[in-house]
């Protein structure tokens, strides 16, 4: 992947009367019509309205995506995994997604759960998304909401999820085509970042992006404000520490494991924490009760959470899907964001930067962490 400046070779997709979606859908349909891709994976409103799910669309006539819908019901990265885990695609598919999902996808590639050789990753500037329940109750259309989130976040009818309000990586970095919204007027920037991206844009008949001088600054300021929010969010929740506070934090957990079901990183078909490894027979349960006096059923709530952290936290991209899926409304990000930052910094690892980077637990150096085993 060649890193290029903000404006190099970037095209301009001008909005039409029908709004951003109309122009963007024409662009996506063009990709199929020109034979650049066989299908498109992008958020699209379900017929009843009220929710935008990733849709895999191969008929260009049926492209009615709502690509800018500020909602993330499921991990798009997992959908790409479903498409490519058995064998690489033989034809290209364009996939529209926010940066957190691109980063999760890169982690899945490292884990050999996905192949992006024939995926044209189209990354969109993300202003943050609403909780699914909030989103489905909102009356405004997605374009209005999306624009409002970028322009004046205080005037939006609901708050975006805390994971998004504190997101340090809202702008796509690793992708084939970057869709720039920030600092671009009356349209969006379509910047090819790879040969795959350049090929997809080839023949699209788009103008060159001319007026994007404000973009770099707008992006920088936007990222800065999110980073500041992240900093204070972590500080605010530092007090969730120690066995008393931690058990209180997870007190309402019903062991449903929704958090790992929706997690883009948790890919195991059979989770360790649902496996026979931790299964208890009636006799061992009773023996345990005798030994300890009493214990909560179901067992191992904290073991599940701390154990899951050990399995996935180095790859955690802080997308917040776990928190959104929690039926007990446990604000999981208050803990996970801190655990992720601390653990990832120990290995100088930032998940989702590039598929060629090694995952910390897959490699080692002989001369490192020399105090372990000696102190």
């Amino acid at each position: 992947m060649s890193e290029k400046g903000a404006n190099s070779g970037a095209a301009f997709l001008k909005f039409k009367k029908g709004g951003m979606n109309a122009a963007f859908n024409d662009f996506l349909a063009g990709l199929i019509n020109r034979g650049k891709v066989a299908a498109v994976l992008a958020p699209q409103q379900v017929p009843s309205g009220g929710m935008a799910f990733p849709a895999l669309i191969s008929d260009p006539e049926k492209i009615k995506t709502d690509a800018f819908a500020p909602v993330l019901p499921v991990a798009t990265a997992k959908m790409i995994s479903a498409l490519t885990c058995e064998a690489p695609l033989t034809r290209r598919v364009a996939a529209v997604m926010p940066n957190c999902q691109i980063r999760a996808l890169i982690e899945l590639v490292k884990l050999k759960q996905a192949d992006i050789g024939n995926i044209v990753i189209i990354g969109i500037d993300c202003p943050g998304v609403f909780d699914i329940n909030d989103y489905s109750n909102l009356k405004e259309d997605s374009e209005t909401l999306f624009t409002a989130l970028f322009n004046n976040v205080k005037k939006t009818p609901a708050k975006i999820r805390s994971a998004c309000a504190t997101c340090r990586e809202p702008i796509p970095e690793y992708c084939d085509i970057a869709v720039g919204v920030l600092g671009v007027k009356d349209g969006v920037m379509l910047e090819p970042r790879t040969d795959k991206g350049r090929d997809a844009l080839d023949g699209a008949g788009l103008d060159e992006l001319k007026d994007a001088n404000g973009r770099a600054k707008a992006v920088e300021e936007f990222k800065k404000s999110r980073a500041a929010a992240d900093e204070s969010f972590r500080k605010e929740h530092e007090k969730i520490q120690g066995i008393a506070e931690v058990t209180k934090f997870y007190a309402a957990c019903i062991n449903c494991q929704n958090c790992r079901t929706v997690c883009p990183i948790c890919y195991c078909h059979e989770c360790f924490f649902r496996s026979d490894n931790l299964a208890q027979t009636p006799n061992t349960l009773l023996a345990k009760a005798r030994a300890r006096g009493s214990f909560k059923m179901p067992l191992d709530t904290l073991l599940f959470h701390t154990g899951r952290m050990n399995h996935m936290i180095l790859s955690c991209v802080e997308c917040g899907l776990c928190e959104q899926a929690c039926p007990a409304n446990i604000p999981l990000m208050q803990v996970l964001k801190r655990v992720a930052a601390d653990a990832q910094s120990k290995f100088n690892y930032i998940p989702g930067r590039h598929p060629d980077e090694e995952m910390p637990l897959k490699v080692f150096r002989e001369d490192e962490f020399n105090n372990v085993g000696e102190e």
Partner: protein, 141 residues
């Protein structure tokens, strides 16, 4: 009179080095505190953190993981991987304030019976200072 606190320590010992080292300590009749409950594993790198956490959250007062010296792993690199997993696990426990100081890691070879006994003595004393694992007071972990 209250009985002195006798900690329960769960030890995960690699079959090739530390377990054999413990064996040597035993056959050499070296005395050490009887607090460690040994689980023999094939390699320190094969210990999923979940098992260690299981012991800790079920109330073990201390956890000991013993592996071959760096460079001496029977499977060439298992202990280096174990080391990284330990760093991760300690980091998680530290952020959550769940007493990472109850976790102990040592490189003990098959010929180091004395080092095994000394380590057990040291760990027992340190864990005694920490006192009983407070997790035992929480029936809802």
């Amino acid at each position: 009179m209250a009985k002195e606190f006798e900690p329960k320590i769960v030890g995960f010992l690699c079959n090739w080095c530390t377990y054999t080292g413990a064996d040597l300590a035993g056959t050499s009749r070296i005395q050490y505190p009887p607090h460690v409950r040994i689980i023999r594993v094939m390699c320190s790198g094969a210990v999923d953190p979940a098992y260690i956490l299981k012991a800790l959250l079920d109330g073990a007062d201390g956890i000991f993981i013993g592996g071959c010296h760096p460079g001496d792993c029977h499977y060439l690199t298992g202990n280096y991987k174990a080391r990284r997993k330990m760093v991760l696990m300690k980091s998680v426990l530290e952020t959550l304030g769940l007493e990472p100081e109850r976790l102990w890691f040592r490189w003990i070879s098959a010929s180091e019976g004395q080092k095994f006994a000394d380590s057990m003595t040291e760990i027992s004393e340190e864990v005694k200072k920490l006192g009983p694992n407070p997790i035992k007071e929480y029936w809802n972990v």
